[in-house]
Structures are given as C-alpha cells and as structure tokens.
Homo-oligomer: 372 residues x 2
C-alpha cells in the first residue's frame, strides 16, 4: 500500500482546529442535553412564521439545486437596502463569505489585523490561507478603531476586521466613529465590517451604506435577528468589483434551496423582526438584572447577548461557565484576557432565563468554592 | 477614495467563471420557465416522503446551528456502509468536498489529472488553487483508467479523478477494473473516485469499500438518487488521516440543519430509494426509445441520465440543445469533442418525457434546417 496523498506544505502544518465546539458535541460528552441553549447567540425566538411556512413549502422542491445566483434573494435585499444587486453577494453564512474573502485577498506573507479576542472563525480562515495575523488589544471592552487602522497602516494589512456591534463583548461604536474608520482605511487595505448583530443595535450604529466604496465590505446575516442560524445564509455588501470577485472562487451551487426560500420570506416580515428585537431587548434587561442580583455587572450590549463580568479572572469565569454547564445551561466566554473575565449569555426565552436565574447563584458559589 | 483591496496574484488572474449556468438564469433570460427540467441530473422523483416530513419538522428548528460534526448523519452512514465514522466526512455537496480536498492537496506547481470533458467543477477547484490540469481523452466514451494512471505517474499528479459512473456520458466500469486502478495509483497520488451516481449503477460497479486504503477517496451524495440536490449534502469516504485533514480547512458550521435532518431520514428509507431506481430505469428506457424513434442512438447509462448521440458534431448537438430550450426543455451537453456530439438528458417523469417526445423531432428538424 502506498503512502497516500501529500498535503500542501501549508495544509500539512495547519492544525485540525475547530473554532467552536458545538453544543451537540458537549451534550454527547455529558450524556444529557442542555436545558437552556444560550451559548451560540442563536435567536431562541426562531424565524418568522412566514419563513417557517416558506421552508416547509420548499421541502418538497429540494430535489432541485438552488439558483446559484440567488437572484430573487439578492434582488429583495437590494430593494430592502436601496442599493443595486451588483453590490450584494449571498453566501453560506458570514463564515463562508469570510472564507471566500480571505482566499481572494490573503496568501502566505500577507498580513491581517484584528482585535485580540475577536471572532475566531475569521482568524481560522486567515491561518488557513497562510496569512499572518496581527492583533491589537480591546480598549475598555470595545474594539479600538484607531488602533486597528494604525496597525493596518503599519504592517500593510490586506484586511482589517471590525465587528460592530462586537462579538463577544456586545459593545458598539456609533456610526460616525465607524465612518471615520472607513475614511482612514489605508490604500490597499480592505475593512471587513462584520455587522452580524446590527439589527439589534440602536439607530445610528450602522453608517449609511455607500456600496461603491472600495475600502469596506460589510457582512450581514440571517443567522441572528432573522433566527435562521441553521440555514446558512449570509450576505456581503461591497463595491461591485469586489463582489464580482467572489465568483472566481465560491461554491456556486453551495446554497441550500430551502434556505433561500426561508430567507426571502424572513426578509419580507419586518414586523416579526421588530417583535424579535423587542423580545431581545427584554431578555437583555433580564440578564442584566440576574447578574446584578448576583453582585455581577453586565456590559452594555447592542447585540442579542450580554457579556457578564464575573468579577475575577479568566480561570474563575471558566469555572462559572463549567458550573453552569453542569446545571444544563450552555453559554460561552471570550478567549482573551482581560475580556475573558466575562461569560457571554445569549438572549433567552423567559423559561431559559428562569433557568439561568436559578442556576447562576449555585454556579457562582461552586466556582468560588473551587480550591484555588 | 483609495484603490481598495489587492487580490492575491492567483485570485487576480482567475476568471470569474461559472462551471454551470443555472436553469433559473436561463429562464430569466428567456422570460418564461422550462416545462421539463432535464439538464442538471436532479431527481425529478424528489426525496423520500419521510425526508420531506423530516425537513418540514426541522424548519422550526432552523434557529439553531447544525451540529458541526454531523454526528448523527455520520453515524447512520457508517452503519449503512459497515465502516467506522472516522472514515466519513460530511460536506456541502460533493462540490464543497472537492473544493476542500483540492485546497488540502493542490497548490501552484502541482499537477492534477482528469479526463478531457469530465466534471468541470473539479477542474474549477484545481484552477482556483493554482494547480495545473492535465487531461487524457475518453476511450470509446468511457473514462480511461489505464491512461489516467499512466498520466498521473508520468506527471507526478497529486490527484487523479475518475467518475464511476461517468458524468456526462453515463458510461461505467465494473468494480474489478476500478479496483485495478486503485491498486495502480502511484505513490503520492490520491484517486478521487466520484460515485455521485453509484446508486443507479448495476451491482458490481462499486468496488468494496476499503476505507483504510490511503490511495483513494470516494465521493457520495444525497443530490442524485436521494433526490436532495438543493440540500447540499455529500460525503467523502477515505482513510482516517485524510478525513481528519478536512477539519483543517472546512467551514465547520457550513451544513444546513434542515438538510442534515432530511438526509438522515432519506438514508433510512431505502425502500423509497428502490422505487426511485426503478422509475429511473424506466425513464432511461424511454429516453432510449425516444432517441431511437428519431434515428438517434443513446449511450448505455448507469446513471440517472442518458447521453443521446445526435449523430453529428458538437455544433449540431448544441443547435439541438438550443432548439429544445426554445421548446421549454432544459438539457445540457458534454463540453469536449467527440463527446459533445451528444446531449445529456436526465431521467424525467412520464410527463417530462412526453414533452421531450413531442419536442425532439421538431428540435432536430430545426437544427438540421440551420444554414450550415
């Protein structure tokens, strides 16, 4: 028997890493399910009933490949945003689009700038294409636009990444600050503005769309406010030449047909989106209250989750997270100090948050009793 | 305003090519729908009713990300095939898996061998990662295993591709011939054995699974016999180290949750698969009869489509295809001579084939009347 395939030198040295372990894997390891799924910033309120109905109808059409141009969804998004469809690329979630974008722009020897502790799947793609990641720290639990731009200029970055609102902290910058960042993007650098959570943010958080601007590409998704994480529908808004470049590398027939149908119906139901926003706002307030009742402070959030400062270091926050998991509550936490003093709790249903309210005092007590 | 992003040198020189134009794009250009969708080798008979029901049920769960390990589906496939789950990787269709595989193994300067006129999406990925494609011709409308292996050895290929049954011709090799090909794979080369259509082939077409063999990776899909092209569920069977390597680069959260649920239910309904096989067999026979009634010969097929030899050159076959489209029949054709003397017609419903039967004589007459 022969030796089998030779991986490329780059692939050979990549770890078989996983940006996130899914809750299902944890449930299999635990031998029992979580009773509150508050770790992945999914929308527990689900998709619009109209989207569910559209997906149910589309189930029997799944023998057909999806339209590789996602024409109808792209047209609807263009109308929704008041821009031309040539500025929109639909893809398999923001994760998929980030992968294509990094592939198009980053190779060995290229540098990319992000915040230490920002979205790890972006970092995974950068490493996966051989890029060098350079980080700047958060400033007061906010990503730091000036520092990001300064570092991008210093290292000649191909990409610089900002999430607004930020994940995992939930903090945000006002539109004017982001617009100033866009204006300062160095020549040859592209700002990746990840707006996965933008629908939850206060008015005035997103700068106006200027899709012809080649300095920025903006990422949006149906995974969060639209409640369709499992459908894998994201979209990029950018200058037409950048958008067109995705056609060089993307998996043209990569979209699920049911997902396209669901996203189209979800977009058309903005009233439902408003309901979700209201429910998320209530849930955020309850998480703040639950934290306060336990002597913890919650960070202000413009997303569908709240980072709760556990009041000590990362090791302590990890114990709290572990103790919550032992009580069947799934949450996640930031990876990098000092942000890792917090745990990140997704906006849950009232029942989910009742469970959190019961479990948190016990989890904190158990974490504090841990032999230091 | 600055210049915007700099693409990598490789991305910069890639064309914004599309392996296939979708029928929806053609319908938009025509201004009316096709009445028989027989061009993409989809299964017009649809998925199992149990799969449809499972997808309908899963629609309201689409707020959750799918299990990134596709644990349940992988376990079910492992049991179905009598192999360990460590030999199976689930991905976003064979197209997605081919992309990951090429990324793992092929970079600039690497060579890949395939047949001239074989699956273009594989070639798209090879070009997309900077590989050099070397082709050998078909032999009597069959892919030529000996020539593929000889060329792979000659050029030191990283990958050599064979589809069995073949697409676009529908021809196939018996298991013994494929096993001999596997045994002859040169050291350092990996055979990509694309078995997308294997469920339609006669017993004795697929060599026994020997998943520990590092010389071959086999690609299977729910897009064809299982009738779920729009769901994007494929899987690779291979040696555990090769399968594990996908975790270095894949989009871990890339699967749609509804699609996983549908595939799991489809796999469990093997009786329905038998029904589909029987219907496809009948449809193939009818396509042969319709061809014969028009004085054309059909190639023997072990897939869910039939290549019909239009009896002249590629230009003539293309005119037939165009004339069929003018009569609302969507079909495709091979890209490379002399295989491009044929058009490729997917197994249709009785109604679809009634329409083909009416349209084909007119289309042939119109094509023959074309001013040469």
């Amino acid at each position: 028997m022969t030796q089998g395939p030779r991986l490329t030198p780059l692939a050979d040295r990549l770890p078989a890493s996983v940006p996130f372990v899914g809750p299902e894997a944890q449930e299999r390891a635990r031998g029992r399910p979580f009773t509150a799924r508050l770790g992945a910033n999914e929308s527990v309120f689900g998709p619009s009933p109209r989207a569910i109905a559209a997906m149910e109808r589309a189930a029997r059409e799944t023998w057909m490949y999806a339209d590789p141009e996602s024409h109808d969804l792209r047209a609807a998004l263009a109308a929704h945003h008041g821009i031309g469809p040539e500025h929109i690329m639909i893809g398999e979630g923001i994760d998929g689009l980030l992968g294509y974008l990094v592939r198009l722009t980053v190779g060995p020897g290229d540098t990319v700038v992000t915040s230490a502790g920002a979205y790890p799947t972006f970092n995974y793609h950068v490493a996966g294409y051989g890029g060098t990641l350079v980080t700047v720290p958060y400033a007061g639990d906010h990503e730091d636009p000036e520092a990001l731009i300064a570092k991008a200029a210093e290292v000649g970055a191909k990409l610089v990444y900002l999430a607004n609102p930020d994940n995992p902290m939930g903090t945000w910058h006002e539109a004017g600050k982001v617009a100033a960042m866009i204006a300062a993007v160095p020549d040859g650098t592209l700002l990746v503005l990840d707006e996965a959570y933008i629908e939850f943010a206060p008015a005035g958080t997103a700068p106006p769309l200027a899709p012809e601007d080649p300095r920025v590409i903006r990422m949006r998704t149906f995974s969060k406010a639209y409640g369709m994480a499992g459908a894998r529908v994201g979209y990029a808004i950018g200058a037409a030449p950048m958008i067109e470049a995705f056609n060089k590398v993307r998996n043209h027939f990569g979209m699920a047909r049911i997902s396209q149908a669901g996203a189209l119906a979800a977009l058309a139901d903005q009233d439902y989106l408003d309901e979700v926003r209201a429910k998320v706002s209530v849930a955020r307030g309850r998480i703040v209250d639950i934290a306060a009742a336990n002597g913890l402070s919650a960070l202000p959030s413009a997303a569908n989750f709240v980072a709760v400062d556990c009041g000590a270091d990362g090791a302590f926050a990890r114990r709290v997270l572990t103790e919550l998991a032992a009580r069947d509550i799934f949450v996640r936490m930031p990876f990098v100090a000092p942000q890792d003093r917090a745990i990140r709790i997704s906006a849950g249903t009232p029942t989910d948050l009742d469970r959190l309210k019961r479990a948190l005092p016990e989890a904190l007590a158990a974490a504090r009793a841990f032999p230091g």
